[in-house]
Symmetry: C2
Subunit: 104 residues, 2 copies
């Protein structure tokens, strides 16, 4: 997993939509396809990209494979963004709000 992989993985709109779905809760590959007009292999390939980027994790259960958000990828992305914190001072208030939420 590297920054390159993460940005490349999220550059594709379909993969971002898949990731968004997983943020709502764990789902298997078939459930993830609902609503998308995508072949099964296409989804499988997208999931492989997200997985190798460290953005999602898989867990096999019988013949199903459950996917969920892997915090590692987001943490990596956050760390990258953090390097440029000097350029977004206008977001301090939002961050403070975030911390208040997290402290609860």
């Amino acid at each position: 997993m590297s920054e390159v992989d993460i940005f490349k993985a999220l550059a594709d709109p379909t993969r971002r939509a898949v990731f968004e779905r997983l943020a709502d809760g764990e789902k298997n590959a078939t459930e993830l396809r609902e609503g998308f007009s995508l072949s099964q292999p296409a989804m499988s390939q997208h999931l492989a990209v997200l997985r190798s980027a460290g953005l999602v994790a898989e867990q096999k259960s019988g013949r199903h494979v459950h996917y969920r958000v892997n915090p590692d990828g987001l943490a990596q992305l956050h760390q990258w963004l953090h390097r440029y914190r000097a350029f977004w001072p206008q977001r301090v208030d939002e961050l403070k709000q975030l911390l208040r939420e997290m402290d609860q």
Copy 2:
């Protein structure tokens, strides 16, 4: 400028390196090429991508064009990441440190 544009722009290692350079300080297109083995048009095209993604801003000055980091792009990226804050609680301490730095 959209999320797609931002992730696509940052997916390319060269463009991320260019962006990183600009974070050190404003530079023109010729200065940015130093150290890279890239043709002038290639750099120009990369800058166009970063610009249309809202990640850099340009300012013409004579026959030079000065580029600098545009906070809007980073803000957009930060906002996207913020939607998934539930998945990175382990970074609370880093964020608190960040806010302490920013408050100074």
